[in-house]
């Protein structure tokens, strides 16, 4: 009897979590409906963001989000693969890797807002100098500045995934290559990297999902302009940073609905990215231990 109640209550809690996710999705849909109805479905992706005129086009922000995250990803890939090889192959045990690992751990723990604060005081002046050097209007803040801070922030996440996969490469395979006279360089580029390719891609996708949702550091460094971004140097806005900037100042309910609509798009974007990443990982794990 008691056992049955116990099991039921456990299953109920599991059901509750599913319900929670469903409620989140439905709330986002329901609350963004007024904005979608006001402007018609086709205008959701237009380039006009005029909350006071009932125009809630999200195109500049979607582009801002994708550009900053993608640039951050490109910048982070060489570093994260290098560090993963460093930890997974060259230095497996001892003082150096444990020091490096605790550094990465610490880096992952620093709050977004502190990255933003540091960026405002160190990165922005540096970017201003760089922009002056190239003869561009020296804003300092902008898409590229936000991408650089994002790069530093997502590296710890892509490393841990890549390192895990690199350590999963069977020793037999590596030893076979060494016994044929391969150098360590050849083993890494011809055995380890091809073998762990899909794991690295999955890890990269998951850190892309993180970059897309990052709010505070990006909000502080991107320059907050609501028009289509024209160059990497210039200011822009991401989905998350518009919400952070305008939500507490939105006075009429339609403006709030417009921002919730951006939240819905952001949610769907990360949802798809995470789904694909998890799918690749599951397939990979299945391949490695059938």
């Amino acid at each position: 009897m008691a056992d049955r109640i116990f099991k039921r209550s456990l299953a109920l809690s599991g059901f509750l979590v599913c319900l929670l996710l469903a409620a989140i999705v439905l709330t986002l849909f329901w609350r963004s409906l007024p904005a979608i109805q006001e402007q018609g479905f086709t205008h959701i992706f237009s380039a006009n963001w005029e909350p006071n005129m009932g125009q809630f086009g999200s195109k500049p922000f979607i582009w801002g989000t994708l550009i900053t995250s993608f640039v951050a990803l490109l910048l982070s890939i060489p570093f994260s693969i290098a560090l993963a090889i460093f930890l997974g192959e060259y230095f497996k045990k001892g003082m150096i890797p444990s020091f490096v690992k605790s550094c990465i751990h610490l880096l992952a723990g620093i709050p977004s807002v502190i990255y933003g604060f540091w960026g405002l005081f160190i990165l922005v002046p540096i970017m201003r100098n760089v922009q002056e050097f190239f003869g561009i209007e020296p804003f300092g803040v902008g898409l590229l500045t936000a991408s650089i801070i994002l790069t530093i922030m997502i590296i710890p996440f892509s490393i841990s995934m890549a390192q895990e996969v690199i350590e999963m490469v069977p020793n037999d395979l590596k030893e076979a290559a060494y016994s044929l006279g391969a150098t360590q360089y050849e083993v890494i580029t011809k055995v380890i990297l091809p073998y762990s390719k899909s794991g690295i891609i999955a890890g990269t996708l998951l850190s892309f999902g993180r970059a897309v949702g990052e709010t505070m550091a990006v909000t502080m460094l991107i320059g907050n302009s609501n028009v289509m971004p024209s160059s990497l140097w210039g200011p822009g806005n991401t989905l998350a940073s518009v919400i952070a900037n305008e939500f507490s100042e939105a006075t009429h309910s339609l403006h709030v609905a417009g921002l919730v609509q951006l939240g819905l798009i952001l949610f769907l974007l990360t949802f798809v990215i995470n789904l694909v990443g998890k799918w690749i990982l599951r397939k990979l794990k299945h391949e490695l231990n059938p």
Binding site: A2, I5, G14, L20, I24, T27, C103, Y115, I155, G263
Partner: protein, 278 residues
Amino acid sequence: MIQKTSLETLLIKNYLFKGLIVFLSLLMLLPLLFILFFVLKNGISQLSWAFLSELPKPVGDTGGGVLNAWVGSLLLLATTSVLSVPLGIWVGIYLSEARNSKLAFCTRFCVDLLQGIPSIVMGIIAYIWVVVPSGHFSAFSGSVALSLLMIPLIVTATEETLKLIPNTLKEASLALGVPYWKTVLKVLVPTGFNGILTGILLSLSRIAGETAPLLFTAFGSPFLETSIFKPVQSLPLLIFNYATSPYEDWQRIGWGASCLLILSILGFNILAKVVKRS
């Protein structure tokens, strides 16, 4: 035709590659050390008893502290724990016990997806669920947003911990005639207690620095508030407000608060390691 490569070029390539990897790795660590150094350098000189025990002062007056912010942060973290820890542990037990049922599969999937939702979206949800019906910003709504972020973390930590406990322990208990529910609650959970506590501490350290979901839920307040139904200040919110302000005094307090926040996150992490070892 067989391509001939001399041994020397092979070895040179080998060392060059190793050099490149080490160089990129160290280059990557530089910004981290630089950020930490910068925050500590600017922040540690601010930390003092007055900094912790005084309320912020208006612009122009020197001094002032962050009493309301750290009290607010503690209040938010405590409320969040109360809301999310019981449910999180319960779901974690469910997932580790019912490994193959359809509902468990579905739940695990939902937990995974919840974990991937950006924190600012959780802020919107808490705004719609709590702030709009109650008509005002409150610490409670902030805690709801943080709980939505924390529940998946605790579920995963509990599930991973309980899965590592050998099955023989459970079987021994059942063989002695202990009912199933008592076996789970009095044998399995106490055995995994340290692991679960570690998970909770690590999740708290992740949540403590969250700013985005608090922007329009806890909102911030210049006063010392201890009621969960009033808007409260929190350390990350204060850092955001002071970092973007044009006043040097405020920025200095912002560095002090950043230093305090990083040290407390570090504290949570160290505590988690101590618990894990004991």
